[in-house]
Symmetry: C2
Subunit: 220 residues, 2 copies
Amino acid sequence: MGSKTISSAVIKRLPRYYRYLGDLLENGIERISSKELSIRMKVTASQIRQDLNNFGGFGQQGYGYQVRYLHDEIGKILGLDAKQSMIIIGAGNLGTALAKYDFSHIGFRVAGIFDVRADVIGTEIGGIRVSSFDTVEVFLKEHDVQVAVLTIPRSNAHEAAERLVKAGIGAIWNFAPIDLQLDSNIVVKNVHLDESLMTLSYNNMHKGQERLSYSSYMDG
Amino acid sequence: MGSKTISSAVIKRLPRYYRYLGDLLENGIERISSKELSIRMKVTASQIRQDLNNFGGFGQQGYGYQVRYLHDEIGKILGLDAKQSMIIIGAGNLGTALAKYDFSHIGFRVAGIFDVRADVIGTEIGGIRVSSFDTVEVFLKEHDVQVAVLTIPRSNAHEAAERLVKAGIGAIWNFAPIDLQLDSNIVVKNVHLDESLMTLSYNNMHKGQERLSYSSYMDG
DNA sequence: TAGATTGTTAATCGATTAACAATC
DNA sequence: TAGATTGTTAATCGATTAACAATC
């Protein structure tokens, strides 16, 4: 069902559409054409129409797109209406920050926090008690969790990931600087902050040699 | 000088090469061919050779590449040998996590932390006193800072960015969910965590409809 | 209806992969 | 020298942009 493969380039643009449509909603704008949206977003109108038509015809000739409708449809495509849960593995600096961050606007909530360090287990972060990582298998049996957030040192990341997968996790948001080699049906999304900073460094050093600001919107 | 524009696709791959070469170094491996590296990294040998040859001929026919040399050269290309400083704007959850993170392995250090909230100013994070954002212009006059890290709410992000630019900042690592519209010679790198989570959500919902695990290495 | 704007096909552009001559 | 592997050119593939007929 619905099996046409959609390129990852398109998928990566969806959240940005979603954000711009949300902004339009907030400003009380009810309809928009691909042309006008393209001007605001600094992309081509062609690209917007091509992207959207991967998922269906959301617009109307001569009229454009209804902002509310398109916004909500993209939200559904992204699964934001699904009320998903995630657990955070590693209550260090980054794990703590993410645990305190409110992801409810995109349908996510933190269901649990885990760590291996005795001095961290039992402390509270954002109203959630940190549990021993040894209890994660039991926890996953008892709770419906879609995503595991990996904010632990590189050295432990692979072993932890394999345990999580064995315990039934299907998606990992990985902040450890490592390429996880897991079963092909496990979805992994890497956020490598140091690599992000390195590309910023490169672009800053080599400034002026290329048109930077214009093509940088999707380089998030 | 050296003005051939290099595509951002190539730039984004450099940090990953750097990481793999660092791993090889740690394992005492002194030379590697594009073929063998391609197997480890799950990319084509062609791509590795094409990418590297954007910057020069680092290898030797019949031999391959010297790991130490190539690693250090890529480090230089990325500017990691430059000892750069950054300031963190916004001492919230994420700003605090980044302030405590050790970026010295890629040549960066945190020179200052700024916030507008009276109850936060004066507290200490990772050994650095949080200063009033109103003092940032003076600070930037007195210190050589390459990067400003923006970890503040969306509503303040644009105004803060403009002040930083006016005060001489040339590069912004932006964590606020907004597209900053700044002078074209300002380098902006966005890290939109919620958008990252949304694409993870999408891939998880639509799992099995495409070959996910294989093409996901660069989707960080 | 006439004007506007979509959905979609065709053309272009750029990035990736393959091939191979150069050379260590 | 023979074998290996690069640097680089050529072929392929995929993504973006342009064009336009369909239609609201």
